[in-house]
Symmetry: C2
Subunit: 337 residues, 2 copies
Amino acid sequence: MDSDIILLGHGSGGKLSHQLLEDLIIPTLSGVPVAGQNDAAVLVQNGERLAFTTDSYVVDPIFFPGGNIGDLAINGTVNDLAMVGATPLAVSVGLILEEGFSKGDLARILASMREAADRAGVSIVAGDTKVVPRGKADRIFINTSGIGIFTHQLDISGANAQVGDKIIINGTIGDHGIAVMAKREGLELETDIVSDCSALNGMVADLLREDGCSIHVLRDPTRGGVATTLKEIALQSDVSLTLHEDSLPLKGAVKGVCAVLGLDPLYVANEGKVLVFAAADAAHRVLERMKRHPLGSDASIIGEVTAEGGGRVQMETLVGGLRAVEMLAGEQLPRIC
Amino acid sequence: MDSDIILLGHGSGGKLSHQLLEDLIIPTLSGVPVAGQNDAAVLVQNGERLAFTTDSYVVDPIFFPGGNIGDLAINGTVNDLAMVGATPLAVSVGLILEEGFSKGDLARILASMREAADRAGVSIVAGDTKVVPRGKADRIFINTSGIGIFTHQLDISGANAQVGDKIIINGTIGDHGIAVMAKREGLELETDIVSDCSALNGMVADLLREDGCSIHVLRDPTRGGVATTLKEIALQSDVSLTLHEDSLPLKGAVKGVCAVLGLDPLYVANEGKVLVFAAADAAHRVLERMKRHPLGSDASIIGEVTAEGGGRVQMETLVGGLRAVEMLAGEQLPRIC
């Protein structure tokens, strides 16, 4: 019976999400240029490339340490455009509001959207507002879609990982998911964990300008976390990856809350992190450049592409063992974005 | 107290929607090129124009005579692009699903989206799926955003109505809203009213190709109906309009249900209708061309632009009086799209 209905896990970004996409959504909607599992679709129009992406945000709570559903929605879509190497140009905002929602809260959220858009240098150009009766939605859901343009000829894609590439992340993992979860569970006063919610387009543009030819893959490890995202890339590029647990940047407080809640930080969502796959000879330059950016001070090389084929991700653990890393199964943190 | 919360009427497309947009949403999100109250924003990039639009769909029931939330979502966004004279290029699909939603219903809806996209000649290129726990959404909400390109230099805008322009509609009014409402109220077995849900881009392209220079405004009278849409155009173009009640195409069955439910068909949503403002000397040619198209067989000239300034809409009634037409106040039909 369960197989006939939608489960929470179908929205996890993990294994069930991929199954729903591959078994139902893509084959039905497709026969068309599907996004090829990159964060944004790349269209070619009159010889010019154009990036196009969409995301809906249903995060609960709507206000959390370090952000709210509004700046999350702007940053998330800006980041999806940046992850294919595009320069974000314009964003649309679709609001679904529950009757009775506070106008004051709406005003705060909209102000955050505007500030986030200004910071990212993107214009909000189109919008839509729907209202549903009380009990038919949970306060506010936001869709943001975005258009990006290309100022270079680089081909950045999850399909481009190459043997020898180093895997670099710009900072600590799990901050967003744990900040949201701590707030939801009433633990936020006991921790100082803040979401990493931020726009990565500026830092990414710096990296591409200086070392673009050495950068093969960019992807932000949101739903499903670093583990699921790396597994996606391994499958898409048909390569095998190795991670080094001792090099994973992780805040002590995040580790602590993960232990309390029984969560693995490798599967916890980030909203201001990017995984960069860079050719080995450029990797340290990319790392140093990242570290000079405010969003990259805790950057680290966390692994490498070890072999062609296989689509496997394994992690060298702190005690020296090898652990197979799979996609998130089920849903450990619903409504994290 | 009520002024501090969101009301159903804020999603009506009528007066409250406009107040929320003008008092809160646009001033907060703006300082940016707002959509200028057209159905899609027009961006200029490298000298080329690009149209961009977004809409969320929360219609209840999700299946109704003549369509469902899926083809409605595709057609609605295709039409918004067509209303600025753009050729729809690509559409994104953002799904918000309630835990427990039927996969079978999802499959039917997705299949309708694909068929609608194929009919309209547009590709679905990007998507996103979120799932919220039971009771936190109502089965399925869909956002579609769309990109359109321009194959001509025409400037089609709600700001371009000119004195003397004839107002043409491609068929009967209120069919969509009443089909949805009849289904919701359990009246559908007593009527044969079917939603007019359809993609208008083909018909609009025909009109623009042949008489583009004479066509000043295109707008689809969705939420708020013909009355609200004409009032918007009158204000945006700063002109006054006169409608002729005896020339409004209206099905007897729609009139009947409106009488039973106490609704005015002039305020009921359409999803396959376009209001065309055409120069007087071309209006009959445009009308005849429309009538030759399958979506325009009941087309009619329903009024004209009578004066500069004023922003007024008045209707010559069947008994010969003059009635002032204002925007929809409150919400007569929640969740109609």
